[in-house]
Structure formats: structure tokens, C-alpha cells
Symmetry: C2
Subunit: 112 residues, 2 copies
DNA sequence: CTTAACGCGCAACCGAACGTTGCGAATGGA
DNA sequence: TCCATTCGCAACGTTCGGTTGCGCGTTAAG
């Protein structure tokens, strides 16, 4: 079982700036690209591109209103992403536990 | 609390090929770059570069032996990476829960 | 001992991704 | 109407993941 990871979702949340964008949107509700860029170390255009990526994988959704475009987190999709993180994490964790157990067994065997 | 994530570690495990390299090393014990590349859809050189990245962040460690170089997972560092995955995951999860609670509260408020 | 084969590193190259700057277009308020 | 604000588009540079080609050292076979 290789954890059935969606590489699209992963690489979307793999970028540090995109993670911070998601953090900001989660913390402050829907915001525009310009507003987000003011609280990030990158330009508005960079933020816009990241929002496009997040939109493409369904993690955010655009809400146009007049000349502004407010972006909001898609909670269901983010929950799916969180599940994938947990999935990979627990898979590796299980491997590590098994390795530790085997190592301890060998230690005991040495004591023959 | 922004979860104090190490971007170096994150981007190391953010790459799909590097995750698969770690999976293979965890499953089959120490292996050489050539052996790994035979079970991956990329060339030996690509694997070698990924191993260099993983080595730089301490997720694997090289064990030279004659003309071969066997790579092994650093379990402590991988455990740290797993902790970061869990950290980000649970942070987002908590946000999602709060949002849901607030939404429900508003729903109840509407029923006035 | 000589030689062939294997494993590795280095360098050049290509395409995609992240970031920048500069510009023009459209909307909103004075 | 006019100015400010917000956005989209295009060009550019840099880094990253991947490939190919070559040369070097180690191992093993003759």
C-alpha cells in the first residue's frame, strides 16, 4: 500500500508560500490577492499565480464582486489534503516503529 | 502559532520522487543509487541528485563501501519530518473545526 | 597482470515552476 | 469626469527536476 497520494494536491500544499496563503485565508476569511500580498514577502502577481494553482486543485474558490476578487478556502478539499498528510505520516510512522521493533529483537538475539 | 515548519525538510519531502525514494529505503533497507533507479521511473543521476538533497537535510546518510555507496534512512530525522506533517495537518484541522463550529452557531442564530 | 564491466561523479542541456518588473484595461468613488 | 485602485497579460531571470554523454575508479574475470 503506497498510500494512494494525489501528487497534484501534494505539490499544491508543498509550496511554502501556498501554505502561508492557506493559513492567511483560514485565519482571516476570504481575502483578495492584493490584501494577501501585503502580508506576504512576495508580489501580488506571485500571489495571484499561487491562487490560480490552488484554484486549479480545488483548494480555494474565487468569489468575484465588483472589481475585487475574494478567495475562500474550500473546506472539503482542504480536509482531503489534511487526510493525505496524515496518511503519509502514519505510513512512515508505522515503518519506523517496525524498524525499531526489529532492531530491538536483534539486540535481544545478540544476548544469546 | 504558525506551526514552526522547517521549509528545508518540507520541500525535501514535498517532491514525489523523493517520497518514493524514502519509501523504497524504508521498505528494503540501505540501497545504492543504481539499485533505487531500477525501481523508479527516473535515471540514476536524477536519483543521485535526490539523494544529495535528502542527505543535505539529514533524512538519509551515505555509507560508502568499496565502489558502492549505500544510502540509509536517518530515522530520527524522518520522525521529525513526520512530526511536521502531523503539525501542519492538525493545525489546519483545528481551523476547519473552528470554522465549522462558527458556521453552525450562525445557523442557530438565524433561527431567531 | 590485463582487461572488461560495473558504479559513480561531473558538465551541458532542456522544460517547467517561482518570482520579478512593466504595462494596459476595467471598476469605484470624489 | 477624473483619479485611484485592482486586476490581467507579457517578458524576463533563476532555480529545480530530469536527461544525455563522458571520464574515473573499483571489482572481478580472463
Amino acid at each position: 500500500m503506497t498510500t494512494a497520494v494525489d501528487d497534484g494536491l501534494w505539490s499544491a500544499i508543498g509550496d511554502p508560500t501556498r501554505r502561508r496563503v492557506l493559513d492567511l485565508l483560514l485565519a482571516g476569511g476570504g481575502r483578495t490577492a492584493t490584501a494577501l500580498s501585503e502580508q506576504l514577502p512576495v508580489t501580488r502577481q506571485a500571489v495571484a499565480k499561487h491562487l490560480a494553482v490552488l484554484d486549479r486543485v480545488g483548494l480555494v474558490h474565487a468569489a468575484p464582486s465588483g472589481r475585487e476578487i475574494r478567495y475562500e478556502v474550500d473546506e472539503a478539499q482542504l480536509a482531503r489534503a489534511v487526510a493525505q498528510l496524515a496518511s503519509v505520516g502514519s505510513a512512515w510512522d508505522a515503518r519506523l516503529r517496525r524498524i525499531k521493533r526489529i532492531a530491538e529483537a536483534i539486540q535481544r538475539g545478540k544476548a544469546d
